[in-house]
């Protein structure tokens, strides 16, 4: 029964170190939060937005819905639907913004409750295909959607195929009823007569006053199939997610088109028949073949950032050891200035992180990292990231009571921050400011390591130049300076001056 007093002692020690206990208790809860940010549905404002390039070659079709000839462009309508898609839970089914219904309203199809601040996609639809693919390849866009020239024709043909099929079946039923022999199937000649009647237009139904079905100009049901192509990097989680969403939107869009068409022809239809036509429109995913990347390629910069964040623990524990073993006191007795101490401690860690980058980069290459940018492009970013970590370590070492506490607290801060900085997977942002010097400012943007991650992905994995990461470098530098000033101030006041 010796475990009872032992357990009591352990419990007492835990309860007397409230600082560590606080973090120990919060840690799992914080992880739940992080994963909810990454994968959960925590609200309309907390969503990841995907960058979608659309190359719309749809030529549309000439139609006359009774108000004169017009060109129906369903490609444009589809782009509008994608733009209007939002994370709002209360989003309605696709409907027209305008009061128009039936085929005439197809052009203005949108999701009912559009919420621009929580839009799913940032849609760019002014690009040429080559440029769109290049931007997908460089990571600017998660995917590129190519809408073919015959999209409207194929989509309408699918819808009209349903409609005319229903009309034809209705004619068969009526033939059976008229023939006085219910259930008798028409002969081939009788069927041909019915087709001819239909092609000429029965002239029995008045769609609108003064308009008959045979006076309408509708797309031919003999249109060629149209295939939309969604191009992206299969290893990019954003592409995978974009693909799933676009597929669902397209299915819903085509159903909506079909439903509108059936509305037009419903007076010709027998009751209870559902559309079951052949789908002439399909979506296929294709890989951007500029360079084959793996998920690992996206993770290597994240691992570098994670390593930088692990510096927090190393540095804070070292500083605490200096304190608890009397080294700092011995140095305080000398002529050492505050600046001497900080520079003297910072430089070796910076050197270490650069060496760490080289080793990590080398190992990553060994294990198949496909970098476009040179490792040297990342050195400056790593130095800035290291400074941020050292600054955080100074803050931890200013507050901690001993090296054990410093180690625990550092880990509990550094690991979640690495996840929130997008080191391992993209996280959904909580937008703080919609326009911050021309950029959207999210909660995670307040972490300098978020900018390190982004800039490293851009420079190392995609080989972009300084201009592409200018904003992230600037933000990283500003946040690092702020963090460093806080760290230096706290550490100086609490550790480097005479004790009170």
């Amino acid at each position: 029964m010796r475990f009872v007093p032992l357990s009591l002692i352990v419990f007492k020690r835990m309860s007397r170190d409230l600082f560590t206990l606080f973090f120990a208790i919060l840690f799992p809860a914080f992880f739940v939060f992080i994963f909810s940010m990454a994968f959960g549905k925590t609200g309309p404002m907390r969503n990841q937005r995907f960058d979608l390039a659309v190359v719309n070659r749809d030529e549309g079709v000439r139609v006359n819905f009774g108000a004169g000839p017009d060109t129906l462009r369903l490609g444009r309508a589809l782009v509008g639907v994608l733009e209007s898609l939002s994370y709002s839970r209360s989003s309605g089914w696709m409907s027209s913004d305008s009061s128009s219904s039936g085929l005439a309203g197809l052009d203005s199809l949108r999701f009912a409750s559009r919420r621009p601040e929580s839009a799913v996609f940032n849609v760019a639809d002014t690009l040429q295909e080559a440029e769109a693919l290049r931007k997908v390849s460089s990571g600017d866009y998660d995917a590129a959607l190519m809408i073919p020239a015959g999209f409207t024709r194929a989509a309408m043909a699918t819808a009209m195929q349903d409609a005319t099929g229903r009309i034809f079946l209705g004619a068969v039923d009526r033939f059976s009823a008229r023939s006085g022999s219910p259930g008798r199937k028409p002969t081939a000649a009788e069927i041909q007569n019915m087709i001819d009647d239909f092609a000429r237009g029965p002239g029995k139904a008045q769609k609108k006053p003064g308009t008959s079905l045979d006076s309408l100009s509708l797309p031919s049901m003999k249109a060629a199939p149209a295939t939309l192509r969604l191009a992206g990097d299969p290893s990019n989680l954003g592409f995978t997610m974009t693909g799933g969403i676009v597929k669902n939107v397209l299915d819903q869009f085509l159903k909506s088109v079909s439903r509108r068409s059936l509305e037009e022809a419903k007076e010709f239809l027998p009751a209870g028949l559902e559309p079951a036509g052949r789908d002439l429109v399909s979506l296929e995913n294709s890989s951007v073949a500029v360079r084959t990347r793996t998920v690992f390629d996206y993770q290597v910069p994240g691992i570098i950032v994670f390593a930088l964040l692990m510096l927090v623990s190393l540095v804070s524990v070292t500083l605490m050891l200096d304190l608890t073993q009397g080294h700092l006191e011995r140095l305080k007795l000398t002529r050492m200035s505050t600046l001497d101490y900080f520079v003297g401690n910072t430089l070796p860690w910076l050197a270490l992180s650069v060496v760490q980058l080289a080793l990590l980069f080398g190992a990553a290459k060994l294990f198949g990292y496909h970098n476009v940018g040179s490792m040297f492009a990342g050195v400056g970013l790593v130095v800035l990231g290291s400074l941020s970590s050292i600054a955080l370590a100074l803050i931890v070492a200013s507050m901690a009571k001993n090296e054990k506490q410093a180690s625990i607290v550092s880990t509990m801060i550094a690991v979640p921050v690495s996840f929130l900085s997008g080191a391992f997977f993209p996280v959904r942002d909580v937008v703080i400011l919609k326009d911050f010097f021309g950029h959207r400012l999210a909660l995670t943007d307040l972490s300098p390591w978020t900018h390190t991650t982004r800039a490293l992905v851009a420079t190392l994995t995609f080989g972009k130049g300084f201009s592409a990461v200018r904003w992230d470098v600037l933000m990283q530098a500003i946040l690092t300076v702020v963090l460093f000033l806080v760290g230096v101030l706290l550490f100086s006041r609490r550790r480097l001056t005479a004790q009170r």
């Binding site: 080294h327 006191e329 011995r330 140095l331 002529r335 005479a498």
Partner: protein
């Protein structure tokens, strides 16, 4: 309170009304006035918790006094000026060393932190390595050194920049007799030229007695006495000390009888022991034995010795245990 400025410039180290209190407890150091002369070895003694370390830390500028001032060669220590720091050398009680650095690297590091010119640092380091018999180990990482070698290096580091005032906090704790002899020799040599001042805190009364020109005894944060060791010894009584151990505690009548033969000390903390001080105490020994036999107590043991600093210390601070 008005600051007394006399002797500030002639004293190597001075304290004026130095106080330190923590929270609502009693003062750890209570209105300490002190003048330590240039060229002397000053022993600062006191039981555990008396306020020695607090005093030393305030004199080093590591601890901010609640009130009062401390000076080194007339310059206030709390300013933290680099000129003040250069005048001080410290050998802390714990060996504060970097386990991975060698002996030479330690001397080089600390010397450079005091801005000692490179050439002077090289020659001074060599001299200290020889003086403290560290030559064979100069390139060894400190983690491979014995405890005695580490303590010698600890002391050498306090001297590498040639300070005027050297504070040694229990420098001989844990040393073997050979190392202790070497250490005492070095400390004695330090003040030979009359330029350097050594402040020594120790629990070894023998060490304080042998090395110190003057001794201050501190208890409950107050300076109880400050004088040369011989003067202090004389102050508790001339002659020798006779310690008698009995089989049981003596009665008040017995103690009264014994007072006829000398100065009797009796402390309830050691109930079976009587200490009698006086001149020609051996001549009186037979009569003391007779007096004890008459009171039916039995003598277990007797010791005759000269007065020591320890006697002074115990007389002033008592025999009750501290740090309770």
């Amino acid at each position: 309170m008005e600051l007394r400025t006399e002797n500030l410039t002639v004293s190597a180290v001075a304290a004026r009304g130095l106080c330190k209190g923590y929270d609502r407890g009693p003062l750890a150091v209570d209105s300490l006035d002190l003048d330590i002369r240039q060229g002397e070895v000053f022993g600062l003694l006191g039981p555990n918790g008396a306020g020695k370390t607090t005093t030393i830390r305030m004199l080093l500028g590591l601890l901010r006094p609640t009130s009062g001032h401390a000076f080194i060669h007339g310059e206030e220590i709390s300013t933290g000026r680099q000129s003040v720091k250069s005048k001080l050398g410290v050998c802390p009680q714990e060996t504060v060393l970097w386990p991975e650095l060698t002996v030479s690297e330690h001397l080089n590091l600390i010397g450079r932190m005091y801005d000692v010119p490179a050439r002077k640092l090289r020659s001074d380091s060599e001299r200290l390595i020889e003086e403290f018999s560290l030559g064979e180990k100069r390139h060894q990482p400190v983690k491979r050194l014995s405890g005695g070698l580490k303590r010698r290096l600890n002391l050498a580091l306090a001297l590498v920049h040639g300070p005027d005032v050297i504070m040694l906090d229990e420098p001989s704790a844990g040393l073997d007799p050979q190392s202790r002899a070497l250490l005492w020799e070095r400390i004695t040599e330090l003040t030979k030229d009359g330029r350097r001042t050594v402040i020594l805190t120790t629990h070894s009364m023998e060490e304080a007695d042998r090395l110190s020109h003057r001794v201050g005894i501190l208890d409950h944060g107050k300076l109880l006495v400050l004088d040369a060791p011989d003067s202090l010894k004389r102050s508790i009584g001339e002659g020798d000390t006779l310690e008698i151990e009995l089989d049981r505690a003596p009665s008040p009548d017995t103690l009264g009888t014994l007072r006829e033969y000398g100065q009797v000390e009796y402390d309830a903390a050691l109930p079976n022991t009587i200490t009698i001080r006086g001149l020609d105490i051996m001549d009186r020994f037979p009569r003391i034995v007779q007096a004890l036999a008459a009171s039916t107590v039995v003598i277990s043991n007797t010791r005759l010795r000269p007065n020591t600093l320890e006697d002074v210390f115990l007389k002033l601070t008592g025999r009750s245990l501290r740090d309770k």
